[in-house]
Amino acid sequence: MNSIFRWQGLVGFGVFIATLAVLVALFLDTGLRLALVWALEDVQGAEVNVERVEHQWQPFGVSVYSLAMTDPANPDTNQLEAQRISATLNPWSLLMQKLEVDQLTIDGLALSTPRQSTGAVYRPVEQQDTVSTFALPEGAPKDIDSLLAALPLQTPQAADALKQAYQQQQTQVKAAYENLPDKSRIDDYKQKIDALKQADTKSPEAILAAKQQLDDIKKALKKDQQAINDFKQTVAQAREAISPKLAALKAAPGKDYAQAKALAGGDAGAITDLTRHLFGDKAAQTVSYLLAATDTLAPMLNSSEQQQEAASRAEGRWITFDDASKIPDVWIKDASVSVILLDQTLSTVWQDITYQHDLIGKPTRFSATASTSPRWQGIDLKGDFAFSETGLNGQQQWDIKGLLLPAAELLNSPRLTTALKDGLLNASGKLSISGNQLDGNGRFNLPRLSMRADTDNQKLRVIADALQQLTSLNVGLNLSGDYRTPDVAFSSDLGRQLASAMVSSLSPEVEQKLNQWQSGLLNDANAQSGATESGLGQWQQWLSNGDQMQQQVDKLLETQLDGALDKQKDKLKDKLKNLLGKDDP
């Protein structure tokens, strides 16, 4: 044995492994902290701070303390902060490059918190529009003539569209009408058929000849019948094409007038969008909390999958096989997350967080339920989501009762500032996601509302006064589009009320000019619609002619030579009777 083994070498190897193990044990926490910070900074593109990381062997787990992730768009703020993240893991799954977490606990999770010092940004993000860019209605009165001259009008466009469509359809209708048989030809057929009916045909040959003539006439009649049907169909299609354009032209002057009037009073688009600009950010923030599961977690899970694919090509290639273990690459079986919201703690519970739901056959479920607290009367949020071959699918509902809104600045423009003094929010809604597409709606009701609005501008005073008088507001929410870039639309009657208030402040001179201008628009529209309607009247007359012809043709087509045939049959019968009578005894 001595000649084969080198005991010193074996001991050296043991010492080497033991040293390695000791070093790992000593520096594992530091290594984990550095690796975590490096990985998160790579994903976040901004400074990430972790106070310390601790591990435990039995059960195997890791705890992360004081995690703060800088918001790359606003380095003075943490996008996410957590006091403690603790996870117990399956170490054997780690060997298979899988993250199987039996229990994840996150305490003190808070979004958008101020940082102690400005965080470094490694990958700057494009700044999104903020309320300060909101285009408020112009304060200075506009020159009404130049405003009307620059206004993109619907009426001329609608008139041109109708004219073009009418001319095109008129050519087709006229061609079809000219293809109709003339009256003399129908009369000629009638005379020929009458002659055939009245002819005293005696021999079977003569009857057959008459029948042949009738068949020829019917063939020609059928051709004409087809031409009539084609004409009627052409007219129907032409009417169908013309009708919506005619209706659009009739409605266009009214719309142009409303637009001009609103613009004369201010910026109609801006006013009607005021709800979004005033409450959009706050509502969007609330929506982002509500959609945290799908809006934040799902893309994160998805990107981790993509990163694995992208990272698999260096020297050589990593090949993935069908995983017989049926364990997802990332699987957090149970998670409890305490979210700090409005200085209160909201507990949320999660099950089966993964992006490979087909492997576990269950969706990711989440719920957040909170009873009465100083900040709210009740919060109930629950839902689920799952990735499949068709994309993300899921659903969720939320019901928030009596949420006390903190005082907050809503709009800070050089000409108008608004702030929420006090408010009570009730929100409810539901959302479904099918094949990555959102379909949801909800309501934000503010039964108690108090606002402050300041402006130096005389014209904007109307808006400021209206806002200060608001005591309640109902805002509708509509969610659509891809879940990764959701379209969030808000609706309320606030914009309409404010636009109406501004329009009512128009001077009599401007009103008079607008009325004159509207009359001109109406005249232009009536000229084109009148010409079109006159043409349609002619088509109607042609249709009547066509109907009459069709009736005549249909009647002629029903003609049979039964009389002549019957006459010959009777003659034959009489002859037979005579013959039989002679032969009788």
Binding site: I4, F13, G316, W318, T320
Partner: protein, 169 residues
């Protein structure tokens, strides 16, 4: 120079030809495959725990690490072919589903290809090395001892340093 000194020292040592040849073949295995792979820990264990010649092991490692630069495409192609072979899919899938399998990083084309290439070449390299060493010792050792360069190397600091080391046995 150091490599040459290492080679001469090993060839002229009292170690058996098999000790030298196996050391060289194990060095080849380590040199051909990517260094930071778990199987290399096993190679290291064998090298340290058995009386193979360490100089020849280091020589084999250095030489085949250089050769691996040119052989890597062959290894990748071999690994690619093995991992894609329909007949072996069951084996790979079963291995992929185990922790040991994942830890071995067998599903990396270069790792598998170079390991298989190294294992296939192991015996031929060991046998050829052994034959070469035997032939060298029979026919060339006495002549080489007289050669000026060997004399010079034997008196050089490097050689003396090697003489003081006891790594070979």
């Amino acid at each position: 120079m150091a490599l040459l000194a290492r080679l001469l020292k090993a060839l002229h040592s009292a170690n058996s030809p098999w000790q030298l040849a196996l050391g060289f073949a194990l060095g080849m295995l380590l040199g051909l495959t990517p260094l930071w792979r778990p199987h290399n820990l096993l190679v290291l264990l064998v090298v340290l725990a058995t009386r193979v010649n360490l100089s020849m092991f280091l020589l084999g490692w250095a030489l085949f690490s250089l050769l691996a630069v040119g052989l890597d495409p062959v290894s990748v192609a071999l690994g690619e072919g093995l991992l894609a072979a329909p007949a072996l899919q069951g084996l790979w899938e079963a291995l992929y589903a185990t922790g040991i399998g994942r830890l071995s990083q067998f599903n990396h084309t270069l790792t598998l290809g170079s390991l298989v290439l190294g294992l296939v070449l192991f015996l031929p390299i060991a046998v050829i090395s052994k034959v070469f060493i035997v032939r060298y010792r029979q026919h060339m050792q006495r002549w080489a001892d007289r050669f000026f360069l060997v004399q010079w190397l034997k008196t050089s600091r490097a050689f003396k340093l090697f003489q003081t080391m006891r790594g070979e046995s």
